[in-house]
Amino acid sequence: MISEYVKEGKTLILRITEEVDQHTADKLRRKLDNEIEVYSPQKVILDCSGITFMDSSGIGMVLGRYKLVKMLGGNFEIINVNKRMKKIFDMSGVSRIITIIDEEEEENEGVM
């Protein structure tokens, strides 16, 4: 995991760089929660571009962080979600709760 805090805008960018399964999710959530609690940011962006594998453990991991950020009064956003991850987030209803910007949308934005 790579964490970057942008002071103006009070935005915390968290980039996950490991495969997400039950094993890694346990450690990841501790690291992510720690960063969120340390900075108490206004906005948290979860960057998924470094995730090479994700199973359903990713659903709980994302929802859990979303809840924590909301509780602290911040906004939460997920970016760089690939097709497979999008499918898992759609199936589980995560997409209805959390703002997800997938890779294709990003590309289109760049063109405009």
């Binding site: 039950q22 094993h23 594998f53 659903i59 709980g60 199936m91 589980s92």
Partner: protein, 163 residues
Amino acid sequence: MKGLCDNEMKLEFSSKTSNEAFARVAVAAFVAQLDPTIDELSDIKTAVSEAVTNSIIHGYGDEEGTVKIEVKIYINTIEIEISDSGKGIEDVEIAMRPLYTSKPDLERSGMGFTIMESFMDEIKVESALGFGTKVKMKKKIEPKQQEDELTNTEDGEASWKRI
């Protein structure tokens, strides 16, 4: 010859979550001989990860046990069996419902079986309380188009043609 598979492998490992990555990568490496697409391979890795995780965290929980994987190849179809001798499932039908989880405290979402169902062609779950659980999944790997195709020549004999 019917009923015999073309190739098979068996794997046994301790019920530790640190083995999840090993399990899905090992199955993917074995399945690679069918020349699957990256998408097909990711589907299989995800489904294996789900079933193996279930055996470890639900089947055995805090107890130590062994997870078994058997993979068989029948022409273009792979059959994966993942089993444990853990505590078993009381009602498989309820367990398989989307969003049903007995461990919300572990941030589980209850989407494991739904993902297995959607990423594989077929899934069958057998379970007995106190004895364990077996998940059987099948997936057809689509033959690639640029491969040799069996066609009939004019004299009626089958021959291989490169297309």
